[in-house]
């Protein structure tokens, strides 16, 4: 059980490191809803 948790934590760390190195993926996920909030929600 500890082995599985350790493997999972290590792999999550590896993926997060990869996400840090490829910020464009993060931009796509965060900017799409942000744009929608601003376009739809803001009142002029």
């Amino acid at each position: 059980m500890n082995g599985v948790l350790g493997d999972t934590a290590a792999l999550i760390g590896r993926h997060l490191l990869h996400l840090r190195r490829t910020p464009t993926r993060g931009l796509g996920v965060t900017l799409t809803p942000l744009t929608m909030v601003l376009v739809l929600g803001a009142t002029c």
């Binding site: 792999l11 993926r25 993060g26 799409t32 929608m36 929600g41």
Partner: protein
Amino acid sequence: MLNNAISVRGGDYLDYMMAGVGAQVALACVGSIAIGTATSLRNGLVDRFRSLPTSRGVILFAHTVSDLGLAVIGIGIASVVGVLLGWRPDTGALSIAAGFGLLVLFTFVMLWFGVLLGLLVRSPEALGALSGLVLVCGSFLSNAFVPLDGLPAWLRTLSEWNPISAVTTACRELWGGPGSASTGSVVSEHPLATALVVLAVIAAVTVPLSCRAYGKAEHR
């Protein structure tokens, strides 16, 4: 901007659309993780993982959990901007947290759908086009951004049974936002229960199929 042009019964459009924005984070994650999975297959990362003494379920679980962290940041940023624009959920901390919990659960299930898509399609170019389709169809063939009241009957039924409609309607209930008029269907009467059942069904299909597809990919 469109806040001035769209009206919803029983409240402000900003309160209505915030649940849709949260659901859109989950839909945006589908393409991102699908392309990431397909790229990992192409660049030999899967072969490197094959040499590790871990189950393929753990590898995919770690991939989805790390992308879920990114999605939570996306939901957080959108929510903070919503609050700055005047969004005020007023149903109590527990109910508000339950709404966000449902969105995180929906995102997690959609991430598994994205993994399955990436393992089956495998071409980043094709996945780029497919992810746009998922985002647009998911967002606009549902009540995420527009109330269903004025739609033609067939389109209204289609949109109402879209799982995203159940998730967004449940979030609006939990956050005290305005909703569409009830049609008497299971989805509009019991959105939270419907959303949980639908998400459980999608997870029950996508998780084992993803693990199986990943196993096949390993042996190519």
